[in-house]
Subunit: 472 residues, 3 copies
Amino acid sequence: MVEERGNMKSESVALLPVSTECERVCVFGTGDIGRSLGLRLIQAGYSVIFGSRQPQTCNFLPNGAQVLGHVEAAQTAHLIFVAVQREHYDFLVPLANQLEGKVLVDLSNNLKKNQYPEANAEYLQSLVPGAEVVKGFNTLSAWTLQNGPSDANRQVYICGDRLEAKQEVLAVATRMGFSALDQGSLSKSRDLEDFPLQLFPLWRLPMRIATGLTAALFFYLLIRDILHAYITQSKDISFRVMVSLANKVCPIVSLVMLALCYLPGVLASFLQLYRGTKYRPFPDWLDRWMLCRKQLGLLALGFAFLHVLYTVIMPIRYHVRFWATERTVALIRQNRTNEFSTSAAWHSDSYLSFGILGFGLYVLLGITSLPSVSNALSWREFSFVQSKLGHLTLLLCTIHTYLYGGIRFLNASMYKWYSPPGYMLSLVVPTVVLLLKLFLLTPCVDRTISRIRQGWERGVNKRKNKMIKTVV
Amino acid sequence: MVEERGNMKSESVALLPVSTECERVCVFGTGDIGRSLGLRLIQAGYSVIFGSRQPQTCNFLPNGAQVLGHVEAAQTAHLIFVAVQREHYDFLVPLANQLEGKVLVDLSNNLKKNQYPEANAEYLQSLVPGAEVVKGFNTLSAWTLQNGPSDANRQVYICGDRLEAKQEVLAVATRMGFSALDQGSLSKSRDLEDFPLQLFPLWRLPMRIATGLTAALFFYLLIRDILHAYITQSKDISFRVMVSLANKVCPIVSLVMLALCYLPGVLASFLQLYRGTKYRPFPDWLDRWMLCRKQLGLLALGFAFLHVLYTVIMPIRYHVRFWATERTVALIRQNRTNEFSTSAAWHSDSYLSFGILGFGLYVLLGITSLPSVSNALSWREFSFVQSKLGHLTLLLCTIHTYLYGGIRFLNASMYKWYSPPGYMLSLVVPTVVLLLKLFLLTPCVDRTISRIRQGWERGVNKRKNKMIKTVV
Amino acid sequence: MVEERGNMKSESVALLPVSTECERVCVFGTGDIGRSLGLRLIQAGYSVIFGSRQPQTCNFLPNGAQVLGHVEAAQTAHLIFVAVQREHYDFLVPLANQLEGKVLVDLSNNLKKNQYPEANAEYLQSLVPGAEVVKGFNTLSAWTLQNGPSDANRQVYICGDRLEAKQEVLAVATRMGFSALDQGSLSKSRDLEDFPLQLFPLWRLPMRIATGLTAALFFYLLIRDILHAYITQSKDISFRVMVSLANKVCPIVSLVMLALCYLPGVLASFLQLYRGTKYRPFPDWLDRWMLCRKQLGLLALGFAFLHVLYTVIMPIRYHVRFWATERTVALIRQNRTNEFSTSAAWHSDSYLSFGILGFGLYVLLGITSLPSVSNALSWREFSFVQSKLGHLTLLLCTIHTYLYGGIRFLNASMYKWYSPPGYMLSLVVPTVVLLLKLFLLTPCVDRTISRIRQGWERGVNKRKNKMIKTVV
């Protein structure tokens, strides 16, 4: 029995490599970030020693951690996290001896870009040349460190000059549940330090496009609809700015941006078709454009949503209710009869119905682009939704707009000051995209594209082609 | 000091088991999948050797990987990932000696089902009988491999004939952050290879039900509402197809499908009640039905959403505006007075209000079924929302429909060609579900169900019962 | 060659520490939880021995698991999961010898709070005093155990009296992919056992506020709008309860709750400003309030959504259509002329437009608070959306309400029975919040707040201050 328990004991040790002596890491700094990092390290099974100038005054440290002075702490571990603000790095200079050969992970961030001439991590390396500085973990908030990685906060970026040091940090990150990506040498620190200062980088281009389009259309329609009436008929219809104008700008911006969201994919296909290979990289502008398609689409959905709201509250507007009454009153006073027009009914019901179906699919696209939903889709399902349903949405919304216009384009009075009405402007890009897509879908073009996507290259002789395919 | 650093060194090694010699894996194939897999393996701490026919021409390989010829690469590792298309497997035949006893992981996929007589993995095994082939990882896209597992892309399925080989693959998958599921022997490869070719498998049955219901109702209402008017009164109201008809089909399909979403749960309770135990499996059709309840509910929500849109744009329709004016004109010309009917006001406001509340809950159910939201709920919270609030939604929507109908069912003119109006059809299934549920909620039935759910079995004698509960 | 294969063999073993003898765990209980836990353990690479009273009758066990009698099973492993209901714990008493020194993990839950005088884990410890009981894993459902951890189901809470025992459990949890949090000594078991019985704990306070506000406003408006008309003019407008009243209650509750969602943040800033430091904890009520801001905001969004629905169906209501006709008829019969009022058009269009924009942002806030979306945001992005856009939403909605009211507040007839109309009530809290926020945004106040947030303390002398910052 005793022997058996002895075995059990050794089993328990084997089961618990986490508590062995050597798995010790040191954290300099007992602020929010230091404490949160320490907590996460402990929960990943490391034993954590905090280094502090005044160890006896440190409170709120995570359960199970030890606090020592900087010198003593530095001696206990090979890996030291430096969770201290750059301004206080000078305390490390007298520790140079203890830090010789150690791996120092610089977690610091700045308050704004280009705050200092060199990156914090490079400054740290210059202060302690004997240590191996690795930049990393700075993109995580204290909150993420405390609560552990979640889907979107799983990436940790590191960079540094020595591979072994990076490997060591990487192993710790992996055990904490993060997924660390090596970004290269320490000269990349500046990029990593700028990262948390970014605000919606992928949304910037789409936001600029949306703002530009909205402003341009607003002034175009302001002049065409409101100033024109004021100047030629002295009518003050300025109140239309609030709803009528907004309800013209929103759908136009929405439709154009939806088309812009599918245009780069079509252009990319044409480029591949023209080059006869998928192995040459796209031009930079096309790459950037393709990367922000999701954001373009979501902004477009936002404008479509406003369009729907602006449309459904129309019957509540004083303006609309007033003229409805006026029309009835005029009909009676002038003793006219109104004839029901089946074609007008068809027209009104059709463009409304296409708009509703288009918006329904639009919302579906938006929902499937939620991270948790798109993660749940297989690649084939995602591409089905975003490509097939996406183009269908564009088609329905374009038909909605054509039907809305109807045969009005034949009417010369529509072209006030020789300018086309807004809805016509909105049709240019979608029509082009749909026609190009239609061309790509013709069987013989489609076949060529598919072969290119599977690795076929035009003009590559059979032997070489075979070799490339073999090593795929 | 020197000694201390020596210790430090050994510490570092202990901390870094990942870089030790034996943790080497080999990847055959340097295409998208091979490169992405290699990147993920390196980031999980493995050292990766790529095997290629022309090692010197391989570009874009992940940082830190080595490339060797196939023969040399095969000798470096016990575990070899084969990321090569099936058509090129024959290059493995001359390597048979080097592959003897190795574990080969087949990652390949096909372009369509039943492309080849036997599964790729079985074909691979037949080519290299001395190796131990494991099928796996083929359900992951290159994108997932590059970016690491996320909630929905965490599952990796493997199958193979030797347990040790599978264990080895499983350990690698786990360290890469995936969660591997053993699907059995190599004969299951066909299933795994078919998996990525599936398109929304769980949505298929609900989509068929929705399509079938929509088509049937469309023709029923087309005949009843539009053809009937054309034949009996020669009136052309075909324009109603676009909005009026759509706005009848949508709510009916939505309500029926919502009811169908709660019917299997009720049937399952009755079955358990009848059998007196929860330990006998449900019939296959009921299992399949229960598995697609979420999809049924979400499709129902889609139809409800369209119904709401079709309803709120009603006052904008030409048809509706025309007849509103006509009614006013007729009132005046005939010098009639309209009397305000409080009961009509109650009726109209009630069904609208119930509809709005029902739709509000409907949307709430939809939101809680988003993966990230339902993951955040405890099991008790999820079942509260989906069961309690779900049945409440069904109740509200059913009342909405009953109120909408009102006492019209007494009116013989409603039954054109002896057929009931659409809304009546929509009430059958929800009423049945609600009545059955009501029965299940009666105290004595509810108590029995609860006991069955806790493991009690009718007719099981006390001794045996106690034993079963003990081992639970 | 032979030697090489020998090396390979040892490689494989090194690569596969998971299958070594010592990584064995035992699970008592073969019910849903036991089987699911066993499956997860096997998939994490452990070898699992089930302990059962009647090992030969156990079915449905996960592939690769072994079943033994309790005595034999207990001897195989140092770590034993007890997945048995508390009522059957007595079977452990005769096993005391085998369990001596073992770690017993109690997974049990109860059906209601305070079902037993002491926590299950404490009861288990009292039955087997020689074992080391750790409470844990009880917050996971069988479903989560089968499918592995996902973002929201990654946390595992454990507590126990011996650190080593907890470390051992923690290591197993980590390898299963969970993130275990040590909650302290075994006396905390009661809390852990109560946890799964909670139902939306963070939603409780916001739900109470919403219910209270809704009820109070409902009765206030019932008396003011409906009873007043009935008593002073004998008019029965009770039907207004269904839509008109609901459409007054919803926007008021929504606006007040949105303001309540931003009030605690403003109060906290004032408190920090007054105290001159961020290092003193907030009062308890403020902490609790701040913790449920998200829930307050989401409930407010729900009410806003209902308000939008109630508003857009207005033109469909019998009541609204009737009076629209009546007004036209009266106009003609009395031969009056209606004058178009540009200011009325401005007024109606403005409040609608502000409402729409406010609701658009409201929905955006709601979407960004979905777990998967907010996880994808950096901390700076999240705070931009929730703070900047949040206050903008509050501003837009408050302007919407002010514009809706317009100059009606000058009209004495609005104050039926000396009580103000509902919309005025709704403006109090938002106005206060916005004014306080405006004060906080003035440059000099803003600067002080920023310094406090960065750790500056009023009245702390420079030396001490510097020290604190150093150790941050």
